[in-house]
């Protein structure tokens, strides 16, 4: 039994958990989205498969798998097959660094944040790959849109994170969460003495996360009315399924990152968990993390079913003319405040 505690088994277990977490999330977030959309629109959402519709994801996956994956003849054979893989793996790998609980983290490396952002940008390249490889007019137009959109929104996101790093001083995500112990006013979201515009930085981070994952109101990539299904037009069954899973994996990644950076990860907002609870304390922390994570995901769903889509040049104007200046301003402001005010 001792091999249970050794490093390779722990690694295997964490890989298994992350894949299961991403897979389960992808399936049941689709159901949550459709149910949520239904409730926003005064209709029940899928409720035929299973009691109240909870078997719906199984039915969806079953349908997707049973369909034939067709590779269009004039598509670039290799790139076409490569794109779905390249879009899903970075999202999974980044989840390895997210601290779900005090000790519940796959591999805590001290440059966790850097790894998340470096892998996060591969997602853009993957969608470009799929758009280019399928040799389809709509796909190429949507791929071009995705690239310029992600480039435009990568910058304000990084600026916002830099202002945060100046405050936390470390890139190790677990350390960042530990710094936010104590009451919820210790959360970075409310640490206004570092940077009075901290709520604004969170809003910028949230908007950029929406734009990075091509979620409405920034879903220019697969704007049904113009580009049919955008970069994934040619993908059939499980090809489309993987892109769908990757989209939800990226949402989970973005929201968990926001929870860790701004809302104190697994910290309970009501003071430290008493040490006597021991193992259970970690579970309570995990529960709080999940609650915050799914609250943010609910907001992402909520935003999608409220707003129309923006126009492409408005989207770029919003980033270059509003988000970047504001985030630069917060960067200067917080660096000045950290320098002048005693810690």
């Amino acid at each position: 039994m001792s091999f249970l505690l050794t490093e390779p088994f722990r690694l295997l277990l964490s890989i298994l958990c992350i894949v299961a977490f991403v897979g389960g999330n992808a399936a049941y977030l689709v159901l949550a989205e459709r149910k949520g959309a239904g409730r926003f629109q005064n209709r029940p959402g899928p409720n035929e498969a299973g009691f109240g519709g909870w078997l719906q994801p199984i039915a969806d996956v079953g349908k997707l798998i049973s369909k034939q994956l067709m590779v269009p003849p004039e598509a670039d054979q290799l790139l076409f097959r490569l794109a779905p893989l390249v879009v899903l793996t970075p999202a999974m790998m980044c989840l390895a660094v997210i601290p779900f609980g005090d000790t519940v983290v796959a591999r805590n490396i001290n440059v966790g944040l850097l790894m998340v952002f470096s892998f996060g940008s591969i997602n853009v390249m993957a969608i470009l790959l799929s758009g280019w490889a399928s040799r389809n007019k709509f796909a190429i137009m949507s791929a071009a849109r995705v690239v310029s959109q992600n480039v435009a929104y990568e910058i304000p996101m990084l600026l916002v994170v830099i202002t945060l790093l100046m405050a936390t001083g470390t890139m190790d995500l677990s350390e960042i969460v530990r710094q936010q112990a104590g009451g919820f006013w210790h959360w970075n979201f409310c640490r206004v003495w570092i940077n009075p515009l901290m709520p604004v930085t969170f809003v910028i981070f949230f908007i950029c996360m929406l734009a990075e994952t091509n979620r409405a109101p920034f879903d220019m990539a697969e704007a049904e009315s113009e580009l049919v299904a955008g970069a994934f037009t040619e993908y059939g069954s499980m090809g489309f399924g993987v892109f769908f899973m990757a989209e939800y994996a990226n949402i989970v990644l973005g929201c968990s990152l926001a929870t860790v950076l701004f809302f104190g990860g697994w910290q309970t907002g009501l003071g430290a968990v008493p040490a006597a609870w021991g193992g259970w304390g970690v579970l309570v922390g995990l529960g709080f993390f999940m609650a915050k994570l799914y609250a943010l995901i609910f907001t992402v769903i909520w935003v999608r079913w409220t707003f129309p889509r923006t126009q492409f040049y408005i989207l770029l104007n919003l980033s270059w003319k509003i988000l970047i200046p504001v985030s630069l301003f917060t960067l200067l402001l917080s660096s000045a405040m950290i320098k002048l005010l005693p810690r």
Binding site: G36, G38, R39, F40, R43, W302, T306, F307
Partner: protein, 149 residues
């Protein structure tokens, strides 16, 4: 410059009011009728396919096969014949066929009928897979209430 500066917060506020509206709708009850399990009651003047009216006194069809409805129908989907039974003043209908694929439910036949012998039925779940199932023979199809919900 000031206007555009003011536009950003005002714009953001309009986003929030939009979200407040959808959130209040989130908690409102659903308005969907789950069709196969729950059905709606059809209003009095609902226009299903036409059906022959049975005369309550003598239990026979009121139709006297005068073919006025056949002539009034814009898409010619009604075929009527009648015969004069002995001992009867008026003719009575022997064969009344309706091609429901061409009927546009306009009600001109009902208006043209001098002896109020036909009316709209309340039938609405009439889906079928082959066309000729829609050649209704109104004499044979059961009375108004039995088959229809």
């Amino acid at each position: 410059m000031k206007a555009s500066l003011l536009a950003v917060p005002r714009g953001f506020l309009s986003l929030l009011t939009g979200m407040r509206v959808t959130l209040t709708q989130f908690f409102k009850p659903t308005v969907t009728v789950q069709y196969p399990w729950q059905t709606l009651k059809m209003p009095a003047r609902f226009r299903g396919h036409i059906e022959l009216i049975v005369d309550p006194e003598n239990g026979r069809y009121r139709c006297i096969a005068c073919k006025l409805c056949e002539r009034a129908c814009p898409s010619a989907c009604i075929v009527v014949d009648g015969a004069k039974l002995e001992g009867e003043k008026k003719k009575s209908v022997t064969h009344y066929e309706l091609d429901f694929t061409k009927c546009s439910l306009c009600g001109e036949c009902i208006e043209a009928c001098p002896s109020d012998a036909i009316r709209f039925s309340k039938a609405y779940n009439l889906a079928s897979t082959n066309r000729n199932e829609y050649d209704y023979d109104l004499m044979k199809t059961p009375g108004p209430e039995e088959k229809r919900p």
